[in-house]
């Protein structure tokens, strides 16, 4: 069934490829990106919960509920109030594909992109759902709401990455697929050093299965402010400004993509992204039809999210405002040595470069990179990534998989990590197959942070304070206590 539905796009591709030389770019040629048919096969293979329950609660949006999303919705969080601005006017959720459980597991897009969490999903909300539904919410569906689909569904241990860190399983074919579905020959070999989830080594879901698939674990990214995230202005060219390689393109218009969606920029547009999201997260079988895709992307483009207010009595509020203003100046002007960050120090700035947070987080309104935002700041690559210290006094065990990447001799070594790299998530390299992309992650927008802890794509920072401490260690910044507090307050107010 599924296979026949995907045939059309591969035929088209065969025709386009006739002119080309060595054409090996990832991306999408139809609305279906090259790697999605394999994902579809695994998702259909994974079990779907039979007896799910998803009762409503005050701030939780349940798939299939008949509700109206008002032009402005407000949600409290520990710092103040988050606003969801819905510029297209009230949205009736009944029948709307962002809100309807259209796949086979009872989830909708809104399951993981909740208004109260700035259209992402906080780990606090995930834990509350687990308690409220005793793990029956489709949120916990085996396909990616479990460390691996083969595990026992009602054991919280099977969902430890989701419950502890807010991470969903992202499964991608390995070796990577070009836009036309052909194989990309990676510049490196990849071995599984450890995998507590068991998924990468599993005979049905893993790398050695009939449908070879690599699993990494990532946070949902906010499905709001996407007009900014997918902007077509300054910095968006046919060639990627960081490495000169061709940017992926909108399969319909041919326009280059800013390549800022998802942790690895594997999808060029909101439309192609929605096709993948339905196939993987919702276990919808095959590509979504154009009408529902239009409804989803229209909705995504009319939605804005940001922290609106700081909750405090007048006095405290004024102090908070002063701190936020100082935090802004720290973010913009406080210099430190940025060193050995792939795709930042390599793009003409020198290594090290004496700069600020805003050097990387420079996009108007969003604080992402202006374009093509994948970089390695050490969140997933060793030696900087958060790893469980192994010693007899620590009862905790590593939870994330660890991969060993060896760059082939036909390419130059990675400029900062050499030929052998240990990583929890190869990031963009899973899509491009490039040695220099190992562990590079597309930076997220900085909006609505107060509503959606933990942070970084692998949830390594439980709080904004931990996130700042990470930067302080990574770049040897020497922030004062006050600078840290001010930065936390500034980021909380975005």
């Amino acid at each position: 069934m599924t296979r026949t539905r995907f045939v059309f796009s591969s035929l088209l591709l065969a025709m386009l490829a006739i002119h080309g030389g060595a054409e090996e770019e990832p991306g999408a040629r139809s609305k279906v990106a090259g790697h999605v048919p394999e994902q579809n096969r695994q998702a259909q293979r994974a079990p779907a919960p039979a007896d799910s329950a998803t009762p409503s609660s005050t701030s939780w949006w349940t798939p299939g509920d008949e509700r109206v999303l008002a032009p402005l919705a407000a949600y409290g969080n520990s710092f103040g109030t988050l606003g969801i601005l819905n510029t297209g006017g009230p949205v009736v959720t009944a029948g709307h594909p962002f809100f309807e459980p259209i796949g086979k597991n009872g989830r909708a897009c809104v399951t993981c992109h909740q208004p109260a969490n700035s259209m992402s999903l906080s780990v606090e909300m995930i834990r509350r759902r687990w308690e409220d539904t005793r793990g029956k919410d489709p949120l916990f569906a085996p396909v990616d709401g479990m460390n691996c689909p083969h595990l026992p569904a009602d054991d919280p241990k099977s969902h430890s990455l989701l419950l502890d860190r807010g991470l969903f399983r992202i499964f991608l074919p390995w070796p990577p697929k070009a836009a036309d579905g052909t194989r990309i020959d990676p510049e490196f070999t990849l071995e599984v050093v450890r995998d507590p989830t068991g998924c990468n080594t599993h005979p049905v879901y893993g790398l050695a299965s009939a449908n070879p698939m690599l699993s990494v674990y990532r946070r949902p990214r906010p499905a709001a402010n996407l007009r900014y995230v997918t902007h077509q202005k300054f910095g968006v060219f046919a060639f990627i400004g960081k490495n000169g390689l061709p940017a992926s393109r909108d399969p319909e218009t041919g326009a280059p993509s800013g390549m800022n969606l998802l942790s690895d920029a594997r999808q060029p547009t909101l439309k192609t992204q929605a096709v993948e999201a339905a196939v993987t997260h919702l276990q919808f079988d095959g590509p979504l039809d154009d009408e529902r895709l239009r409804q989803i992307t229209d909705f995504e483009k009319q939605l804005y999210a940001a922290q609106m207010t700081v909750d405090a009595a007048a006095d405290a509020r004024n102090r908070a405002r002063e701190s936020i203003a100082r935090g802004h100046d720290v973010f913009m002007f406080r210099t430190f040595w940025i060193r050995d960050a792939m795709h930042l120090n390599t793009v003409g700035l020198g290594n090290p470069t004496k700069r600020t947070c805003a050097t990387c987080h420079g996009m108007h309104m969003m604080g992402m990179d202006v374009a093509n935002g994948w970089m390695d700041i050490g969140t997933t690559n060793l030696p900087h990534a958060r790893e469980e210290p192994l010693n007899p006094w620590n009862a905790r065990k590593p939870e994330l998989p660890l991969f060993k990447v060896t760059c082939k001799s036909s390419v130059p070594p990675h400029p900062f990590l050499g030929r052998v790299i240990y990583t929890q998530d190869p990031g963009r390299a899973l899509i491009s197959g490039k040695c220099n992309d190992v562990g590079t992650i597309v930076m997220q927008q900085l909006r609505g942070l107060s509503a959606r802890a933990p942070y970084f794509s692998n949830g390594a920072a439980e709080s904004l304070r931990e996130m700042i401490d990470f930067y302080d260690r990574r770049f040897d910044i020497g922030f004062t206590e006050r600078e840290r507090e001010d930065l936390v307050n500034f980021l909380s107010a975005l």
Partner: protein, 256 residues
């Protein structure tokens, strides 16, 4: 040429005069200042100023600690900057292999303060690029659009961030002019260092460079033109600067 070779072999340890070409490989050194850091390199007992930290649009981009750098320049008469003699013109190539011994960051000292305003501060630039848009800078102003392009490379280098804009212009021009054929020629170069040692680029680099440019143009969608891809070895008679020959030329041939 004979003059250059003489310099290369006999005058290494004497302080070079203005106008003298120099080529050497060494560790880059960072010298902090009150504003942006300076980049320096030592050779033959002299300190040379390479460049300042600015932004991606700079004509000379700073090298990388953790790697050695090939410096190909001409000693200039300009006053020293950050305690280093100025080289102008100057080409820098970051050597691909890692070298952990290149790790010197010197602290700011008043005597090395810049005597001028740096082209851009270390923080946000208020939208100003220090050197303007490099693509616009070297666009040919006269007549129709230029149909010949050149991409310059670092030693042993292939396409990197700095080529995105030239590739974009090639693509735009080829589309606008409905070009029929794209002729690509890649070159391999070599450099004779001031010490007399010759550094040759990897043997297949000319071909790799040329083929990569074709692949990238095809990858960006320029797939219905004829490509003619050639490569040439220009490493036989190395000079003190091999920068000129580390290049790819692209000629767009219009439909007649």
């Amino acid at each position: 040429m004979a003059f250059l070779l003489a310099v290369g072999t006999s005058a290494v340890w004497a302080a070079p005069k203005a106008g003298e070409p120099l080529s050497f490989v060494s560790c880059p050194i960072v010298r902090d200042t009150r504003t942006v850091p300076c980049w320096l390199a030592e050779h033959g007992g002299e300190m040379y100023f390479l460049t300042l930290q600015t932004d991606v649009s700079a004509p000379v981009n700073p090298p990388w600690l953790g790697h050695r750098v090939l410096v190909e320049g001409v000693v200039s008469e300009e006053p020293s900057i950050c305690g280093g003699r100025v080289l102008k013109p100057l080409t820098l190539s970051v050597m691909p292999d890692l070298d952990a011994s290149c790790n010197t960051v010197l602290p700011a000292e008043e005597r090395y303060d810049l005597t001028f305003e740096p082209p851009r501060p270390p923080g946000p630039s208020k939208g100003r690029l220090a050197f303007g848009d490099p693509a616009a800078r070297d666009a040919v102003a006269t007549g129709g659009p230029a149909m010949d392009f050149s991409l310059a490379y670092e030693f042993d280098g292939q396409v990197a961030f700095r080529h995105a804009q030239t590739l974009q212009r090639i693509l735009d021009t080829a589309r606008a002019a409905q070009v029929e054929e794209v002729r690509i020629t890649g070159y391999r170069s070599a450099t004779r260092l001031s010490s007399g040692e010759v550094m040759r680029e990897r043997e297949d680099i000319a071909r790799r460079r040329a083929e990569q440019v074709r692949d990238l143009l095809v990858g960006a969608g320029l797939d219905s033109v004829k490509y003619t891809v050639r490569w040439q070895d220009r490493s036989k008679r190395p000079g003190l600067s091999g920068a000129e020959n580390r290049r790819v030329e692209v000629a767009l041939i219009a439909r007649r």
